[in-house]
Amino acid sequence: MSITSQAEPLAKIRSKQMMELLASGKRIDGRDLLAQREITLERGIIEKAEGSASVTLGNTRVLVGVKIEAGEPYPDTPNQGVLTVNAEFVPLAHEFFEPGPPNENSIELARIVDRGIRESKAVDLEKLVLTPGRLVYVVFVDIYILNHDGNLVDASEYAALAALQQAKLPKVEVGEDGEVKRTGEFEKLPVVDTPISVTVAEIDGKLLVDPNLEEENMAQAKVTMTLTKDNKLCAVQKSGAGTFAFNQILECFKIAREKSSEIRRKFFEE
Amino acid sequence: MAVLVEKRQLVTPGEPLAEGDFIAGENSYQSEGKIYSQKLGLAEIDGKKISVVPLKGPYMPAVGDLVVGQVVDVSMGGWHVDINAPYTAILPISEVKGKPFGPRLEALTRIFGIGEILVSKVIAFDRTRDPVITIQGPGLGKVRDGVVVGLTPTKVPRLIGRKGSMISMIKRESGCEIVVGQNGRIYISGRNPEKVELVIRAVRMVEEQAHTTGLTDRIKAFLEAGKEVKTDEKQP
């Protein structure tokens, strides 16, 4: 059951300061409304994972590991590999993260990232079939939040994409008895698009790109838009108990298109 | 500047009621120069004040309301009483007349145990704290026998009737003692169990047939005949 979330209350003077700054087009951490925090990206950190990447977005820090195994295809897509995205809000990332099964926030996060990758067809799943209808590659994308300072979605999305781009696909031999053996050789995981998400929060009629945690607590709503390399929208999620005006949503698209191209150029084009 | 609805018009939440220089009364709100309804109900226009009389809704305690409640818990300060509202009411020890005693739980449950039915009055409530009730006053206090039946709170005025016409008629015809709690809890007691049963059925008729016309007459006929008279069975 989904229950009204209770944001950490901001000190009154802090929210007042935030509003005053916003009125003059500035943010509490000195950024412009449309500026992202600094992004750092590191690929291939976990040797035992087929792919991995770590992203920092200001103080937000996310690690993604990709594991690839042989397994059964979904019955409705017998000739495609399987992609699954899971997110763990690890207790070390924030004092309010509790150990336990995934809650609605981590499920939502994983599903937004999943949607962006799936709908952009970034991973060519048709190339991941071993025995049609029987055996395919299963690509597990596990998102690990290490430090939470807002906008977990974008940090996770960038890390997931980087880890997939870097992932090696283990070559296997399938024996007569159906036994799967790794040959020890690898090829590249076929990643053919670069979906980039951009999250915009609304506070008091103003649109803010890449909200930090304080801003997220202040914002009633945010929206994540993911764009393909051809600037097509492939995933949207409005999140939070607030609303957007129609023209704001169209504005968000324009912001997302511009920001996603920048990030793609800087980090994801080979 | 215009009123957009007729007086007593049935309106739904979000329906614009007036545009321009008006005041949002009960169950309506103002946004960008317009007054909108918050509830399903009937529009009321009183000069510049536009409000809505709800047809459905939770009971919200108001100071002075007569309420019928049930004791659900006991703590050091007094009794917790379910009054069919979003908040449990508190009956403080100080509001129980002539009972000087130390705040010992054991002693409190001996006065009113859990499950006890109380006829009480709301003496304080402001939504930030639980409502406070009293049993000091004529007709208030613990009841010893009888039954309590529920009625949708917004239908309570229907059971009371115009200037009390319906409820006095029911009392007269049945000879029962009836306490109509504003909270939609009706206490009924009488010597004759059959009469009590008739009153219960009459309250149920109000609940189920609040949307029909001639309800008072029908209930009167029902109580007189000792059975329900359907409209179509009436003598020509």
């Binding site: 059951m1 989904s2 229950i3 009204t4 209770q6 897509t77 495609q80 609605e104 499920i107 939502e108 599903r111 949607r115 709908e119 952009s120 929206v223 097509k232 492939c234 995933a235 949207v236 999620q237 409005k238 999140s239 939070g240 607030g242 609303t243 957007f244 005006a245 129609f246 949503i249 169209l250 698209f253 298109r257 | 007593r8 049935l10 739904t12 979000g14 709100y29 946004s31 909108y36 918050q38 509830k39 399903l40 009937l42 709800p54 047809l55 459905k56 809704g57 939770p58 979003p86 908040y87 939504r127 930030t128 917004t154 229907r158 115009r162 047939q209 949307h211 029909t212 016309t213 309800l215």
Partner: protein
């Protein structure tokens, strides 16, 4: 994934005979569950969804209560028999996500500040599912809230728009949802003129996105009228009886 079936025929008609901008037949009712404070039922395409609202009531456990407003608990749940293959009754990840986004679509419409420390429960049960069940569920939930007499800024109207064979279409059914190229559920709060639910999967160009958003607004406007009718139909007799009684008393 895509079948060879044509989703739009040479006359521009969709698999169920609708034009691109046509809604499925829809039926809405309120006030049908005796125990609930408010309830509703919606039938849209094959969707059959029942909603019950309980509350506002004391928050349980008490520490859940918020000193400033009522909290809303929302559960979107699909019956095991609502889908082609039996669905496990345990909540799926999809249901967890939808419970959250539907709650967030409803919350901005509710004057929850009127009932601090209390709790409002919204239970959405999909008895049979078709395309657009989250939108139908959202609409029905707002009707059940209104039926419970909970103060609202407005009802919440919702519909999905999508792309089928390159064409932007309104109110996707199951097949169009599964085989089409894009699906975008949208909910609006008409009195505020704002969007309270927005999701999208598939692919849209900027022009298609703008067009789809426009079409969604149009769809929501039509559905909103049906929502209002459902409430009025149920409560008009009560209003008339009240008036007759008053006249009789004079």
């Amino acid at each position: 994934m895509k079948s060879s079936r044509k989703l739009i025929d040479e006359n521009g008609l969709r698999v169920d005979g609708r034009r691109w901008d046509e809604l499925r037949p829809v039926k809405m009712e309120v006030g049908l569950l005796a125990n609930a404070n408010g309830s509703s039922y919606i039938q849209q395409g094959k969707n059959k969804i029942m909603v019950a609202v309980y509350g506002p009531k004391e928050a349980h456990p008490k520490h859940l209560g918020n000193p400033d407003r009522a909290i809303i608990r929302c559960r979107f749940h699909m019956a095991p028999f609502s889908t082609e293959e039996r669905k496990s009754p345990a909540p799926s990840r999809r249901e967890v996500e939808l419970s959250k986004i539907i709650r967030e679509a409803l919350e901005p419409a509710v004057f929850s500040e009127y009932y601090p420390r209390s709790m409002i429960d919204v239970f959405i049960e999909v008895l049979e599912s078709d395309g657009g069940s989250r939108c139908a569920g959202t609409m029905a939930a707002s009707l059940a809230l209104a039926d419970a007499g909970i103060p609202l800024r407005d009802l919440v109207a919702a519909c999905a728009v999508g792309k089928v064979e390159g064409q932007i279409v309104l109110d996707l059914n199951d097949v169009e949802d599964k085989e089409g190229e894009a699906d975008m559920p949208v909910a609006v709060i008409p009195a505020l003129g704002r969007i309270s639910l927005l999701q999208m999967d598939g692919q849209f160009t900027e022009e298609e996105f703008a067009e789809a958003l426009e079409l969604a607004q149009k769809g929501c406007r039509s559905l909103y009228e049906i929502q209002k009718q459902a409430l009025k139909q149920r409560y008009l007799p009560e209003k008339e009886a009240l008036e007759a009684e008053e006249k009789g008393g004079k």
